[in-house]
Amino acid sequence: MRLPVNLDIALTHIVTRKKQTLVTALGITIGVSIYLFMNSLSSGFSDFSRDNIFQNNAHIEIYKEDEMSQPLFDSGSGVVLISNPQITTSSKKLSNPEKLLHDIKAEPYITNAISLVEFSAVYRRGDTQIQGRGIGVDMLDYADMFQTDELMVAGSIQDLRDNLNGIIIGSGIAEKLSLTVGQNITVSSTEGIYKVLRIVGIFSTGSTQMDETRSYVNTTTAQQYLKEGPSYVTTIYANTVDPDNSLQYIEELAGIIPYAVEDWTVINKDIITQDETRQLMMTAISLAILIMAGFGIYNILSTTISQKIDDIAILKATGFNGRDVINIFLSEALFFGLIGTALGILVGICLIGIMKSIYIGQPVGNFPISVEADLVLLSTLLGLVLTLCAGYFPARRAADVDPVEIFRR
């Protein structure tokens, strides 16, 4: 099978100018590889920080909001009472938690929901004490939602089961109080309850803030700390099918639930904003580099066409039309694009591989970067589109060459 004549001409141009072909392709290679690498890096970071978020946060949290007293109170008899606004909520209790949990679980977009009892805790050993937050929860359900079992550095979550005197503490607490599994710890609540609990497990999330404050006990234990009965629940955590859609879900939930509904994006606003800023910057920089590469290609192709203007005039004189000329030069651009992009993807993947092998210490481990199919696809597409664009404008000019003007020179 013989090549079509336009492709034949394009290929001859390419093989007779190997050096130029290489330089052009290399420009694309650099642009594409940097684009792929930087975006993979950015995406890796995002995934990492997101994983981190979901390690400690449910997609949706439901709790009772603090109510403020009205500063103006009209008694109806013409006398207006003015008072300082203050929190009037006497209890953080969610009423009828079983039904609430059941209703939430019935929503089609909810995959999992658990109820929690939160209390402010003070951990002590001797004279040392640490302020923190205790959470009373069915630990197995909780671990199911947050994979807490993977974070355990000592003991196990199973040991907390039905053990009203057991507690799982963060590694920061354990370190500060020099405690290990099997030892006792004194934990008190603001409600004035003191208990001596036995440490059955220690976890480490990597977040110092978490590890130095958080502990888990059984629901009943937490209720006792709050001096409350068995139906007392402060918070419900729910996971959804798609966390990126959480805003829509909370709107729907707000319609059926009389409590405050918040999603993970509100709770982690800072992290998410940081993340978005970084991603935007990375995208902008990598795109700028890619576009610079595009201008490089445009420049080289423009020069080639200026040098070949006599040839173009002959082709047109012997019966090749404008579209043929565009075909010839676009084929060349496409060829540069294919070679350059393929190499660029290869180099990009190598860079990612090197980065991935770099260890940056706990809790991150190796660099959070990986080859993502959609980014590879996007880079390939951008590389090709860019070369075609960079090739199209010079090719257009070539097609408009007036052979008579050339022959007269």
Partner: protein, 236 residues
């Protein structure tokens, strides 16, 4: 055989830059099938300009150009290119070969564009054309490695590859020695006599012109002698 294959009607052309210049004035010229016509005239009289109009490469004129009894004036770029490809062979004063290609490939390209024959057939034909012009042994050489005269002959072979009815030449022997000039003349003569092709050659070579069937003379953008009307009278 008196069919007209090339004709102009009231062809006028102006250049606007750098100053308004009436380069072709009321040109009415007819060339018949099987004629070997030469065109002479002082430098700057408008010979090349007329030839470009006749070749469909220049469309910026008023009046009409007819090729093979078809008015081609105002056709689209693509249609004009197809006409040139199929019906017109053009030979330039300065050879103009594509430097990256072999002589053979240079000759083949217009035929590959036409796409009427297979690659092998075209290759075969190209060899034959080169042979006619005494260049068979140079066929596979890179075109820039040939001498000027050889390159000019390759470009003539290229003009003949699609067996066009009309061959237009702008000073094809301007850079050739007498031996090569005679050879080109013989090839043209043969084409006209044996295959009834039509040839219009712009030349400054008076011997070459004298040996053609008819000589058109241009001066100041007008045809001053050798017009087809006179020719028709002479034949009658």
């Amino acid at each position: 055989m008196n069919d007209i294959v090339l004709q102009t009607q009231n062809l006028n052309k102006f250049f606007h830059e750098p100053v308004e210049f009436h380069v072709l004035k009321d040109i009415n010229v007819s060339v018949h099938k099987g004629e070997f016509v030469s065109m002479i005239g002082k430098s700057g009289s408008g010979k090349s300009t007329l030839l470009y109009c006749l070749s469909t490469m220049d469309n910026d004129y008023s009046g009409e150009v007819h090729i093979l009894n078809e008015n081609v004036t105002g056709r689209k770029d693509k249609a004009m290119a197809a006409i040139r490809n199929k019906n017109i062979g053009f030979v330039f004063q300065f050879h103009y070969l594509l430097p990256e290609f072999t002589c053979l490939k240079n000759v083949m390209l217009p035929a590959l564009k036409l796409g009427k024959h297979t690659y092998e057939e075209i290759e075969d034909r190209a060899y034959k054309k080169l042979e006619i012009l005494g260049l068979k042994d140079q066929a596979l050489k890179q075109s820039i490695k040939l001498s000027g005269g050889q390159q000019q002959r390759v470009s003539i072979a290229r003009a003949l590859i699609n067996e066009p009815e009309i061959i237009l030449c702008d000073e094809p022997t301007g850079n050739l020695d007498t031996k090569n000039t005679d050879m080109v003349f013989d090839v043209f003569r043969q084409l006209v006599d044996e295959t009834n092709k039509t040839i219009l050659v712009v030349t400054h070579d008076t011997d070459f012109a004298a040996a053609s069937d008819r000589t058109i003379e241009m001066a100041d953008g007008r045809i001053v002698s050798g017009n087809s009307g006179l020719y028709m009278e002479a034949r009658a």
